[in-house]
Symmetry: C2
Subunit: 105 residues, 2 copies
């Protein structure tokens, strides 16, 4: 069963570029890990959102997702610059869904 990984980030005004540079380094690495399916990084439309960025990614299973958090991942996320952007990660399963008739997937 595929799983949905939701990672929330609080990013202060004016710090989008710094966050994105750090995040993309980790994201590029994770895309190369077995089990990665897809991701969408979202930015809030309103500047006062508590979580300005939300990454939503899908992995083939909880075990591939766990295995992807390896030494290479820890080396990247051990960068002290990450202390400004503490992640808030949670793994989920889908329990209810629907698509409107004719809607894009």
């Amino acid at each position: 069963m595929s799983v949905t990984f939701v990672n929330l980030f609080a990013v202060q005004p004016g710090r989008d570029a710094a966050f994105l540079e750090l995040w993309q380094r980790v994201n590029t690495y994770m895309q190369g890990q077995p089990g990665y399916l897809d991701h969408q990084l979202h930015r809030a439309l309103s500047p006062d959102a508590r979580y300005r960025f939300v990454n939503i990614a899908h992995w083939t299973s909880e075990s591939t997702w766990q295995a992807a958090h390896d030494e290479g991942f820890r080396a990247l996320t051990g960068d002290p610059a990450w202390q400004e952007f503490p992640p808030f990660p949670t793994l989920y399963e889908v329990v209810h869904e629907n698509h409107a008739a004719g809607a894009r997937s």
Copy 2:
């Protein structure tokens, strides 16, 4: 431009059924509103997640999403039972995405 609506819910242990009953009433109503594209309600795999449920929905635009929060919506969410499950809603746009080659969409 379509938008992504992320709604986080803290639900205490043993209260899933009560939450889901309330949530599905609102969800069914919103599915009938113009601009609704799709949704996936997620439940955390770990019992100690801060946000046990996360709804991720797509709408055709910010304006259709706003218009959907009408009198009918307010009547449903005005149910005092909702006080146990305060929502944490935020509207997002996608700023970075990728799909693995051959992965399901």
